[in-house]
Symmetry: D2
């Protein structure tokens, strides 16, 4: 912690600040700048709350020196975390593609989607059973019936399943069925839910909130890991910016930043990220080129009749085409697309 002093801080004010530091059991340490002086704090075991100092007379600013996340950081663990999802490795060299519809709508739709994405080379099936929607009047998902249909699709195709847990009340049932529990963007700072998934021993994909910083995403992951669940993957899915032509601004900058700072795998959701079907392929390719470990892509057998997000869903033939392009980019990166077929 560094306390920056106002240029006109009096000797009394400085003495008072130093006294307060000592009172808290720490050691003040003076340092002089061009126009002002700062005081460093040493002897603290954990982070020091800036609130102790910010409003003392003579204080201009308080700057923390230590990063606020630990367990998810590369400083604590240098090697990449590789998560095993029933035999599918996420975070290693092969890139994992999760695909399927926004919402599970009915048996025919989800089975058709599952067969199609498996054939095109996906390893996992996505599909929402519990859907958080901005309006109370929109379709909220098939709920438990949706979970059963996902299990059925898994049994038939061999795809692993990822679906969202919307609240603590339904989490256990979701965790029972799903191979990966997804925490949605709106729940990234639902700390009660984060603690509950932290108590599971099950892979979790944590989506970045639409106005969350990269640091806050890492802090939210720290909530989960600090409860003992180390199988966390981070998902970039777009942030809200001044741009209105795209649904969100998919922030691919987050990929190298997360990979530098954290050992956790990074997944990218280009479908929600840009929200426009014809642009999903280019953004998926770009995500792999930037170093992502996986993709989650919306695919629907008949997107124009989808109950949600049809505008951003690929058709099955469209997805097959995108997968070919992704294979080429993955190869150029010295990686490959993970395949269920050996």
């Amino acid at each position: 912690m560094l306390i920056v002093l106002q240029s006109d801080a009096t000797p009394e004010a400085i003495a008072n600040i130093e006294g307060r530091i000592r009172e808290l059991g720490f050691t003040p340490h003076s340092i002089e700048g061009a126009g002002r002086t700062a005081i460093g704090i040493t002897g603290n075991k954990g982070p020091v709350d800036p609130g102790h100092f910010r409003l003392l007379p003579g204080v201009a600013d308080c700057i923390p020196v230590t990063a606020p996340y630990k367990l998810v950081s590369r400083e604590v663990k240098r090697d990449d975390t590789v998560i095993d999802v029933g035999g599918v490795q996420i975070g290693g060299k092969p890139i994992v593609v999760m695909a399927g519809p926004c919402s599970v709508e009915n048996e025919n739709q989800i089975l058709t989607a599952a067969r199609g994405v498996a054939e095109a080379g996906a390893s996992m099936l996505r599909g929402g059973a519990f859907k958080p929607r901005t309006s109370p009047y929109e379709f909220q998902g098939l709920r438990f019936e949706g979970l059963e249909l996902l299990a059925k699709a898994r049994a038939e195709t061999g795809l692993k399943v990822i679906t969202e847990a919307k609240d603590t009340a339904t989490l256990a049932r979701v965790a029972e069925t799903s191979d990966i529990v997804q925490i949605g963007a709106r729940n990234m700072q639902n700390f009660s839910l984060l603690e509950a998934v932290g108590d599971l021993r099950k892979p979790v994909m944590l989506k970045r909130g639409n106005a969350a910083t990269i640091k806050e995403l890492l802090m939210a992951a720290e909530y989960i890991v600090s409860r003992g669940n180390k199988q966390v993957m981070l998902c970039e899915r777009g942030i809200r910016t001044i741009e209105t032509m795209t649904r969100n601004t998919l922030d691919l900058n987050a990929i190298p930043m997360l990979k530098m700072r954290s050992h956790l795998p990074v997944i990218v959701d280009p479908s929600h990220g840009i929200g426009i079907r014809n642009a999903v392929g280019p953004m998926a390719r770009a995500a792999i080129a930037a170093g992502a470990d996986g993709l989650i892509i919306e695919v629907h057998p008949d997107p124009d009749r989808a109950l949600s997000d049809g505008m951003q869903s690929l058709t099955l033939p469209g997805f097959a085409q995108v997968m070919k392009e992704l294979s080429a980019i993955a190869a150029a990166m010295g990686r490959s697309i993970h395949s269920l077929v050996k």
Copy 2:
């Protein structure tokens, strides 16, 4: 719903779009622009999902015509909603001030704060018992003990109490103690929690998410009201913008916009909004001048030693001074500050 056509849409594409509209049971209605043509849709009872049309050949854009919220809108109810909180009216002419510390820390702190803010003219006591925090390593609140201390402070001072419900698991206990249940900014789109408070018959203060639009705030309120709980007040507390000098950008523009569109009372939180003690007074005055129905202000008997948010908390004498200034502005607006003392 209006479907805007591409300038080169073929007659076949247009016929196909019109067929699709009829297939859904609606009526297409052609309208020509300077360079392109649009098709209106009529005959629909509720909102039409744009996903049905956005990706059909020839379609450039789909524009909904009807506002997506209803029960909270002024179109449905013209008169201001006035909420009675144990005799304190919110949404009427008198302006209600809620004040107190960010977190309940101990009995002495909360009682001292309560006595001080009551004396200075506040009608309600705020204080967090359950604290959502960005880091798992920060102080998370006194929880149930905090609720008891709030009840004790109410018994002694006569102030009404407002505190945050963080999750569905603890909601019932919070609702039992608190006169107003606060839903925090991070939970504005925690739909399971919104539904649960919608099932209560208790006043609720819903805070705007830090990247939520005014429309999304109204939609979140619609979740609550559509379950039957009509006692909802909306709280502007700052959004995240490109500005970094202030903690958030308190969006006072939301006040006239919400008052024009909705009949619900509007409360403003200048403390979280700007996050800097010396600027809380000016922003509180501005909120009243812009038409707010109430304020929620952080006040701490010893803010430099506060466990959270000390930097933005007023001292008790500072709050008393702000209250005087607020009275003058309220009078200039033809209103007054609600007082517990008759």
Copy 3:
């Protein structure tokens, strides 16, 4: 300048950093934190470029200690700057209201507007002669003819005139006619233009860019003042945020922040800020309550037929009503609205 070290910085890396500091003629100064060490730099006369250090091995971050603006800061000059515009004082106790149409359209329009706003109590006439427009196909202003019409309106009404200088080519002519030269939001970082107005000895109103931080606004003002022109007023006119219901997000938080940091007068433009006629009055009142020294408001004799920005312009009777409300708020603040009539 403070250099924060990585937690695993080697002694060699630290020695290298310290060597580099000495090489530049400064003095390194070690300081220890909880998990890492930092090095302060002293002996520098001006700001040190962080680029010298950011990428040396072992460096985690570089944090400047001194504020980058000087001449506009309160640290350099404690007393409020009061600017005399032909007898109208800006920055003192009386609040100055500038009003008029977005664009000068014709003689009848500008004279009618000028008479109307003068009668309602404004001291200055605004009106664009040179209009920067997003599209090349929109109305670009009457240019030199517009300047002449403004001069005519001044001669008749006694109002002072403020109008925008769009580029260096037309600056001299604008400065000749106008009592205050306005630099528009899009030109806030047009440094060649800032230097040119810095060479004038004429009052300047500098508008905040729509994505500029408060600090950048102060830096842009520093450009002008550092050339010798001290008659600068700062204008908050809204920033671009995630909110789309309002034209911009008028950032009233900037008022107390600017007044704390700078001695320059602060003017607020609620018309461009919120962009909706019925909300201009509430935001104007709020600006005064937050401490603004002046307002610039769009008023048009027939806004529904205005060539630009009619949607946000007040009618003349609407403006007269707003002025009454502003007087009441100004009085509650212990101030008044400046009046041309003695």
Copy 4:
């Protein structure tokens, strides 16, 4: 243009709106929605100003139907524009890499940089001679001497040159020396400068403003093209968002969106975009994978001693390594990196 009516618009209000439409020489055209009615406008030759209608009684909203840019749009010209810069084609299959230091600092620096980037496979040399800087106290560039040094580096290496024109006063001299005139992000809406480069017959690279939408970038390009200069390339260089870990948020989403809407070539600047040396390579690869036609990358022979932007500049060996990775990605896209050596 579509005028959306309030749900309670009276027949008189509707008749008045329709009368106003006819008065302007257009034809009103009624269309009914679920809860409200809208009126379309036909018969207009160009865009209709919404200001004519927005504030009439009964009007809820006005929605333009036609896109505001024309000459730069794919609707007007389907084929990609390919710009010839002295034999280097931009916008065709080969991808063009421009590289060099942020600022020209001295002869040795620019020549060393030029030789290094040419050897690694760049086709163009970048280097700022006129530098717009946020602070008046920062290095502003070598100006005319910088132009001469760029010409010297071109003569020696055969690289084409791109450098920024900061204002109309120096534009002619920049255009004389430089093969491409760069318009910087801060000048994207400096319309006087846009008009001046529109009058040139010289390739222009227009950078997106840091808070400009994709549509505004296209509108700014329309300014140039509408003056007759068709040799415009668009440059994505990052926008300002809520993220603070990166210098800007490089918005790669802009690549597919611009390519869909416009025929102009798209260049990406990953150096300013993310602002962190180690992340420039990943973002450059991603840009190519998303479909960019070229890259502009900061490279400095000794970045730790650079006078500006050293933190984001690649070293010469770092750049050579990035070029190898880019070649692999380009090949995976069925493209190549343009090479000066035949």
